[in-house]
Symmetry: C2
Subunit: 466 residues, 2 copies
């Protein structure tokens, strides 16, 4: 492992900035102070800002193949369209995991939570391929294999009409066995690869699946990851299914915990919010996809006031349609100013940085090891070039980074002390080859007609009162 010392770099200090040296020894932050002895390789930090790496705390890497083309639909119809047009092969899984890692890294993220869509029949292979891609790039990966045990149509409320749904193609037990095998084969936290239990959400999962996941989580010490109440339709569905809110139900069955991260959380009431706080669950805010799909504005300021931990995700690139974490952080901060006229509650750029770094680490139960520039923590670091035109004129570096629209500003990134971005380029894989592969394996298209949407749209409109 290569030791190094970043010299004369700006870091955030209280309400101000300090110029310091940062020593990294054996992959950990060994010292932070002015004028330190140079240990290992010297790195010039002049006119640069050093921050802890951010977490892209919710995405679906393979959605990259459908970005830019999905119709202007709410989640339920959008998902039906996605199912029609997103048959995946292993090579696509590999390339889109690489692409997601690269875009995350070049926008300040050193960790990615991939709520990974599995190829039916090739579930373990899908996980193996994503693992390989993330190891090659060197980004810290939290692979959350997306599972369900109900068929797609069950995710839409029935309303007045009785609806029947085809059974899911695989049993709950068989699905849980796949996840347990994935944990045995791939869960290697010390090597930067983590497997999570990740039932997609109450809309497509039985209690048996949630409970089985909780048991695996307890047995193997795994984090838990799910979608939660992304849409108004899901709020209705929870009432139909449980006669109570989804949050009340998930609490009752023991799924909520201090290592549970919940993507979206748009349609929670005040009692639900209190439950998230009490169970120390984490909300992953995906502002871009919530807007794109018209899901709503998650009550993020309320979460913060209730003491609920919040961090940010890009969500999959079919619903965003980018993996730029700085964009998600900007929008996830300023969006909420229109929900509360008392500006003293608004999220400041420094708070946003803490949410994106320490907030992510807390959600994944590793805040003792990651998420801040603290001596003893692992060196997942990002160095930003403050001489870039998009960060000029010079004012407040963190304000410029969060509120501006930074372009090509990540100079260097390290994960566990290993440099994987240098001079603005990913050093571990050939990004130009990746670009060429993505180009060659795709073609320009226009709008397509989704048969699945045609089948469910009338029912969706009726039940949602449209």
């Amino acid at each position: 492992m290569v030791n190094f010392t970043i010299q004369n770099v700006l870091i955030a200090a209280d309400d101000d900035y300090a110029t310091v040296d940062v020593q990294i020894i054996d992959g950990a932050i060994a010292a932070i102070a002015p004028n330190l002895q140079v240990i290992g390789t010297p790195i010039d930090g002049k006119n640069k800002l050093l921050l802890p790496g951010f977490f892209n705390a919710h995405t679906h890497s393979s959605e990259m193949w459908q970005r830019g083309i999905m119709s202007a639909f709410p989640l339920e119809l959008w998902l039906a369209e996605l199912y029609d047009f997103a048959p995946l092969d292993p090579e696509q899984v590999y390339l889109s995991a690489l692409g997601t890692a690269v875009e995350t890294l070049l926008s300040g993220g050193t960790s990615v939570v991939d709520h990974l869509v599995l190829i039916p029949g090739l579930e373990l292979e899908t996980i193996a391929i994503a693992t390989r891609a993330y190891k090659e790039v060197g980004i810290r990966a939290f692979i959350a294999p997306l599972i369900q045990d109900e068929s797609l149509s069950a995710g839409i409320p029935s309303g007045e009409s009785a609806q029947t749904h085809e059974p899911y193609f695989r049993s709950t037990a068989a699905t849980l066995e796949i996840i347990e095998e994935a944990v045995r084969q791939f869960h290697r936290p010390d090597e930067g690869i983590n497997i999570l239990v990740a039932p997609t959400g109450i809309q497509l999962c039985t209690d048996a699946l949630f409970t089985g996941c909780s048991e695996l989580s307890d047995h193997y010490n795994l984090c838990r990851h799910s979608h939660l109440l992304e849409t108004r339709a899901q709020e209705k569905l929870a009432q139909e299914k449980y006669g109570c809110t989804a949050v009340e139900h998930l609490k009752r069955i023991g799924y909520l915990s201090d290592r549970t991260t919940l993507a979206h959380c748009v349609w929670l009431n005040d009692a639900d919010i209190a439950i998230l706080a009490e169970t120390q669950s984490t909300v992953v805010h995906n502002p871009l996809s919530n807007l794109r799909l018209g899901s709503g504005i998650a009550p993020i300021l309320k979460y913060r006031q209730a003491g609920v931990n919040v961090t940010f995700g890009c969500d999959g690139a079919s619903s965003n349609d980018s993996q730029d974490l700085l964009e998600a952080i900007k929008m996830g901060s300023i969006l909420h100013n229109v929900t509360d006229s008392n500006y003293q509650n608004w999220i400041t750029p420094r708070q946003a940085v803490e949410m994106a770094s320490l907030g992510g680490a807390k959600g994944l139960n590793i805040a003792d090891k990651l998420g801040s520039l603290t001596v003893g923590k692992q060196a997942d670091l990002v160095l930003y070039d403050l001489t870039n035109l998009s960060l000029l004129p010079r004012t407040d570096p963190i304000g410029l980074l969060v509120l501006g629209r930074p372009t090509n500003v990540v100079d260097s990134a390290w994960v566990n002390g290993k440099q994987i971005v240098a001079d603005g380029k990913v050093t571990t894989i050939n990004v130009d080859e990746l670009r060429q592969e993505l180009f060659n394996r795709s073609q320009w298209e226009t709008k397509r007609k989704s048969e699945s949407v045609a089948q469910i749209e009338a029912h969706y409109r009726t039940v949602m009162g449209l």
Copy 2:
């Protein structure tokens, strides 16, 4: 003037794309069809998308000096802070106009409406300097010198308390004389420089100023540009001032017209919207600053349904804090999906492109000359590189451009047939020198204490019920 032919380029055609050649002769689009004869310089359009240049239809260039550092405040307090920390000198005006032009160009804009803050006592010089900067870059400029004739504190509603305000330092007549002189000296539409009459808004302008501006507009055939109902405070203020809505009042005094562009328009009611439609006024939507300042979400879908023309602006970089037009177009499209559950009303990427191009041209009363790829129109064009990683894998080019987070995708740009961006670089000025100047004339700072805010904050909180 150099003639040229773009070969084998993708253009939008109905609901699809076509690969064509585009001939540009004497600064105008002469022909669009497959396999044309090459006239003048051949330009390789392969794997590129050609669109009409967009309009950055509302900004304040000099705010670039305060970007990234302004407090999380609503407009009224933010403006007080801005006044305290933004004394300008001519060199700053020059550099920030260059910077605004460059960022606009590199995000697809070929026209900029600069609601230009004037240096007191150096008003004509300020306009001269901005004119020089825009001519040097070659971007089409609509310079709207920002004028008012009431002092800052008059912009906050009085509420129950009687408030008195210092008179403005210059008479209405003297201000109008400055604008008339600016028109004589700088208004040269054929050279790409236009002067607009631009009273800042009802919050700081008397009827005499609006009426004087309308007269200048009629006499010299000038477009009109103002802020309108950006905040809830302004809605209250209009009722205090006029006993009716601001829109009703502006209609009554004859300010609204088919060459009037109105920035923000967040707090309008249905009757107001009908008036905008009837007067053929244009709304300039600035989604980023509306969020950043907590102003609210402008009812853009309602405007579109009422037949009101809408286009996009970045707004000044102290309230955004970037000048990336693609970011404004993305947010200005998807933001509104949360305001209407009927997804059939949502703005599609193709509609967004039309709003950003033809919508801008309509607002500035030049839709006969600009805003679309139409034979006979002037060649304000942008060529996007579709092989950039941020636009891959290939799907729908316009979807990727509008919904993604494109980075370095503008390959070339022309204004009136003159190329001013080539190979992704601005060719008319030395951007690296600009970057160095912006760096040298600024310093990293942290939060500052605004005395003006301290003076007005208590009153603001009281009158706004905070």
